[in-house]
């Protein structure tokens, strides 16, 4: 292991460039540790985003050596090429500055996919009984742990080709709600996730599934939505 890392970091806006920094290499060092060292010890003008540092909040995702990753739980040892790292903002999102991508469009698409839970009961009603072993509950469970980091969205080629495409995270969220017996918005939600700008645009490249740091499979959820949407269209319910 070399004593220092040579780290290229994207600086500026969309017309910016990479700048190289030398960072001391340490045991069990994460990519977020590297970025934090640069900002605190070398160049305090570096802009980046993080919060929890333990893989829960989903705010520190960046492009590391060409692939989108959560930087707080990505060890330098796993991704460095020799002593080199290249750190850039997430792709498929507008750039604010340095390593900070503008996430508004990403989360607006969750809203467009009807990602909000809409309950059908009031506080006067009893709880809905959901059997943990039911098929619908198991499907929802398999997709529920999304932290909204944007890694899948940055990994998706369909988003790059079709900027209106809702993307894997928003569709994964819609899939969890489509399998939630308590939710009352499902006919509208199926309409929201039908068509060229939503689930049917997915080419099943599985880049989202490959890159998801939580090991979820948005591809599987999107396939489920495709089946549900096709059924609704054939039955005239779309």
């Amino acid at each position: 292991m070399s004593a220092t890392l040579r780290v290229k970091v994207w600086r500026g806006g969309a017309d910016g460039a990479f700048r190289e920094y030398e960072v001391p290499r340490r045991e069990s060092q994460t990519v977020l540790d590297v970025v934090t060292h640069i900002q605190r010890a070398i160049d305090p003008t570096l802009a980046y985003r993080f919060a929890c540092r333990v893989g829960m909040c989903g705010s520190c995702a960046m492009t590391v050596n060409g692939a989108p990753r959560w930087t707080c739980r990505t060890h330098v040892d796993k991704v460095a090429r020799g002593d080199r790292l290249e750190i850039a903002p997430l792709r498929n999102l507008p750039l604010i500055r340095d390593l900070v991508a503008d996430m508004r469009e990403f989360f607006d698409k969750w809203a467009r996919a009807q990602g909000q839970f809409k309950g059908r009961r009031t506080r006067a009603d009893d709880f809905e009984r959901i059997t943990p072993g039911s098929d619908a509950r198991k499907r929802a469970d398999a997709a529920i742990e999304c932290i909204g980091c944007g890694v899948c969205y940055a990994a998706c080629d369909v988003v790059a080709w079709n900027p209106d495409y809702l993307g894997p995270a928003a569709l994964n969220r819609a899939w969890t709600l489509a399998n939630d017996a308590r939710d009352a918005a499902n006919p509208e939600r199926l309409r929201a996730v039908a068509g060229d700008r939503a689930s049917l645009a997915c080419h099943t490249h599985m880049s989202c599934t490959e890159r998801c740091p939580k090991a979820l499979s948005p591809t599987a959820g999107i396939a489920g939505l495709k089946r549900a949407v096709a059924r609704a269209a054939l039955e005239g319910e779309l």
Binding site: V158, W161, N162, R191, A194, G195, D196, A198, L200, A201, K226, V229, A230, A232, A233, L234, L238
Partner: protein, 112 residues
């Protein structure tokens, strides 16, 4: 184009793909069988002329192609060239009709 129409196009492309998978298999198997003793136009025509089964098979094949290819091309044009909107749909409808017309013309040619 409405979301329902887009969804029905998607279903039509999958359904036509299933038909094509079978048609291509039969077509390839026939070709391999038919060229055992060399391939001549007369031999092909002797098999297809007046044969209603081959007429029906290749008519289904052509219609499946005319449904399948333009829907796939629609995604390619949108994603690679950014061509969306009404002009693209008109172009693709014409493309589908051209495929169906030329294909059925050829089928008629080997049947009649």
């Amino acid at each position: 184009m409405s979301r329902r129409t887009e969804t029905l196009l998607w279903v039509a492309q999958r359904a036509s793909a299933a038909v094509l998978a079978l048609c291509v298999l039969v077509h390839l198997a026939t070709m391999i069988y038919a060229v055992r003793g060399g391939l001549t136009g007369a031999e092909i025509l002797a098999r297809t002329r007046g044969n209603v089964a081959w007429l029906a098979f290749y008519s289904v094949f052509v219609v499946a192609v005319a449904v399948h290819a333009p829907i796939g091309l629609r995604a390619v044009l949108g994603e690679w060239l950014g061509w969306r909107g009404r002009a693209r749909e008109v172009f693709l409808a014409a493309f589908a009709l051209a495929l169906a017309g030329m294909g059925l013309w050829a089928v008629r040619g080997v049947f009649a």
